[in-house]
């Protein structure tokens, strides 16, 4: 009686259709969803930019600022930025409801003030990174930040 077995199986298993739009849906553990940046913890080192395979994370320097940009439209949710981040500022969440009406809504931008060497004025990083030394002219942090 395979049909009877099938019926019994179907009744035992119950309803399989998800209730998604009417009830929130929790993805499985380990699901890689929207990467979120904690701008309080981020130092602006942009170690995440070169490891991003689809160039969703980019950084550029303009007028004393380093501008970090994350574009969810380009992101392939691989999680390499999470691995590269030393400060634990970028995290993949399980959020998947990313649909938006414009590309601008899918962008996250933040700017960080650049730290310039007080002696030779080479860009050493951002102010939040607190650079210790300059390899070009030999300046170190114990010399102070006032120009000689």
């Amino acid at each position: 009686m395979p049909l009877l077995q099938l019926l019994r199986y179907a009744i035992a298993k119950g309803r399989r259709t998800v209730r998604y739009p009417f009830e929130p849906d929790a993805p499985e553990a380990g699901f890689r969803g929207k990467p979120e940046v904690d701008l309080e913890r981020c130092t602006g080192c942009t170690a995440c930019a070169p490891v991003c395979p689809s160039a969703a994370i980019t950084s550029r320097e303009e007028s004393g600022l380093r501008v970090f940009r994350l574009d969810y439209a380009l992101c392939v949710f691989c999680g390499r930025c999470e691995e590269a981040c030393a400060d634990g500022a970028i995290r993949l969440t399980t959020d998947f409801e990313l649909a938006a009406r414009s590309r601008e809504d899918l962008r996250v931008e933040a700017s960080f003030k650049l730290f310039v060497c007080p002696i030779c004025s080479t860009v050493l990083g951002t102010e939040r990174e607190k650079p210790k030394e300059c390899k070009t002219c030999g300046w170190t942090a114990d010399l102070g930040t006032t120009a000689q």
């Binding site: 309803r15 998604y20 009417f22 574009d71 990313l98 938006a100």
Partner: protein, 166 residues
Amino acid sequence: MSWTFIPPEEIAARHKLNGAIRRVFGRSLHARHLDAGSCNGCDAELVATTNPVYDLQRLGIDIVASPRHADLLLVTGVVTRNLERALYETIRATPEPRIVVAIGACACSGGMFGESYASGGGVDRFVPVDVYVPGCPPRPQAILHGLLVAVGRAEQKMKAVRAGPM
């Protein structure tokens, strides 16, 4: 018989959604899938939305066989050079006011493929896109969410059409 039980709140929510779709379109929402050079990842997820687990039809949305029957176009893939013309012809065959939904990272922006001699770098380089659904590929639930966002966008467009020519 717990396997047929649907809680009353869900039934009320379904009626509300069906009411919104009916108010906007005067019938159920018909979508047409267009592959513009995708890797088939998004297409597989899109097919999954019509299976018994995700069941797109319970929301009053259906995938039809011709763009001439469709209110909404679901475009997947970077627009490759070979399929650029197919995209334009499908858009021309879809009656106005149409909604274009870009599904997946490639359709949204070019994704992994970016822009090159053969890859167009996103649907919005060629035709205006109303809703972007990022993900590589997006989950079937994410596609459902994108379609619900599109229903809201359609409401705005229909109002503009009914108000008269621009």
